[in-house]
Symmetry: C2
Subunit: 390 residues, 2 copies
Amino acid sequence: MSVTTPRGFRAAGVAAGLKASGGADVALVVNDGPDAGVAGVFTTNRVKAAPVRWSQQVVQGGVVRAVVLNSGGANACTGPAGFQDTHATAEHTASALSAVSPRLLLGAGEVAVCSTGLIGERLPMPKLLPGVRTAIRGLSRDGGPAAAEAIMTTDTRPKNTVARGSGWTVGGMAKGAGMLAPGMATMLCVLTTDAVAGPAVLDEALRAATRVTFDRVDSDGCMSTNDTVLLLSSGASGIEPTPAELAAAVTAACHDLAQQLIADAEGATKQVAIDVVGAADEDDAAEVGRSVARNNLVKTALFGNDPNWGRILAAVGTTAAAFEPDEVDVAVNGVWVCRGGAAAEDRSTVDLTGRDVTIRIDLHAGTSAATIWTNDLSHAYVHENSAYST
Amino acid sequence: MSVTTPRGFRAAGVAAGLKASGGADVALVVNDGPDAGVAGVFTTNRVKAAPVRWSQQVVQGGVVRAVVLNSGGANACTGPAGFQDTHATAEHTASALSAVSPRLLLGAGEVAVCSTGLIGERLPMPKLLPGVRTAIRGLSRDGGPAAAEAIMTTDTRPKNTVARGSGWTVGGMAKGAGMLAPGMATMLCVLTTDAVAGPAVLDEALRAATRVTFDRVDSDGCMSTNDTVLLLSSGASGIEPTPAELAAAVTAACHDLAQQLIADAEGATKQVAIDVVGAADEDDAAEVGRSVARNNLVKTALFGNDPNWGRILAAVGTTAAAFEPDEVDVAVNGVWVCRGGAAAEDRSTVDLTGRDVTIRIDLHAGTSAATIWTNDLSHAYVHENSAYST
């Protein structure tokens, strides 16, 4: 269950010496076709890394035959020279891959690039380009898991997934444990499918999926310069699912990866689902959930096993969502500690000793709902983000 | 230098047993006139504590002769019963004060109430009301410092100030170390002046002052349910300054108190000024500063003495302010580590060992500027907010 589970894809992950800690740091995913469809969703941060600006152009071209990814450097805020580095990486990948797989015969404009790591430093190209060549030599139908390992930064485990259709599958990998973002949560995610699907169907499926998965993960409210989610289609199954079937499978794959991301968030001791119900519309529900997810006082209370519903209500009160303050109910792990905006069941009966926490907020303003996934704010988060430059 | 420095004011601070830790917890500020002018600014949180809703009405009435404040309980999210508690506190203060100072002869509608402490629990009225009577007996022209002590919660020191006009003064006290807010920063602040000033001039002076002081302090992005800033005028100096003179003095007092708040923020090891310059307008500058101030990755980097300008740029990129990503310059403690959106001077030359940090961001988009004050995110912040319910 990885990006190479669907037919038509090969992948590799190799160590090129980009990471100070050693280990694999260059990944390559190649689409052997027959199709080379692509859809992409990118960070909404206005400060975009060079590989994001490059890959946005490539995705607009509509054909992607390879994705090269590196950890050990974000290539963000690196100026025109950084963009040239990305371009050179794509050029190098295209020509080296064409040389060993002549039937691919691809140009740089068909190679997407993703990078992750420290912002503001140039990539060591004399290490990266040989790494790409090593990855090309290592490409295999079983290479998905190795690719997923090569894109890890502060992740403690690789993230792979698969969702099966009838005669076709969606595979995927993701990395990201720190800069999980409000606008779009994961740093890097590559999804593959052997389904047959036109560009509009691919795009629609990906957007529908990210909207209710990665977009609803909010670990620390900090939006990355490099967030990228790509969906590649090889058409190798020969089967064309309905748009709804494809969207459902892509959503399942994204959901699984998003949950793996939040479970592995930096320093987290709690995995928190914020279910907002009774909202006037879905946007209101998501806004309320996000406001609670980003509130440092709520997050530290959860770390301290404290069902401090007053902090939750204070966070709800900063939103523009439709609700009356004296009608809001809040349950923490099933105990309705707040009803009608005031204390209800005894907060001391809430059991917060486990890792999973569910906060349910009923706005009593309508029938819409949304879930935002987050985690607590712990000493380990402070340690990890203060002791190391990432 | 306190709320009793201006003529016409008495104050007291006493222990009524509201705080589990003991110590003073009820404060009273009385305006002996001849004037009883008032202006107020309150939290923009839609979940407002009972005393905020009460005091908003009182301020609209235009006359305030006394402010009663308590720590040890926020009286927020306490329903109609909580509002009745606030009302009863004002009634009790008015009648007991009228009895001992017959020339005041005040009604409940002339008594503002402020509370701070845990959200969601009723106040222990059998302790609070006797405390009010004790405070009335203790009122004195030297009582300002005692009042400032009585409103402390997790503050490590009381916050008093004075700003002198020509023949008149502005005094003030504030508390707040945790829920320093985006919309309005301090939890509780009472300012006093013996200047002669009409209601419109008072209101204008207070709003002008809070806009560039408390509103620009953003410790942890969490907005309180109880934030209140009151300005009382006694007219006892007999001198009527120009509106600009009054506004300047009130702004100086608020600036001083705001700096004391941020210096005493929970667990802070750094006191950070984010100067945004070259903005298209002041709102843009403030938005950019606030976005950087609230970014947990920036805050933890500062705690770790890491001049991680990439995280600063990533935070700038999430705003809607006018700027081009490849034109932004960033200096940390005077070293321009980023120019034109890319690395410039050597980041290892930045000295972050001191407590004071200045981050300067030049957007190169205009001539406007704003400063946002914040602090770092430390282990002590996590500890203080996870180990104790506040």
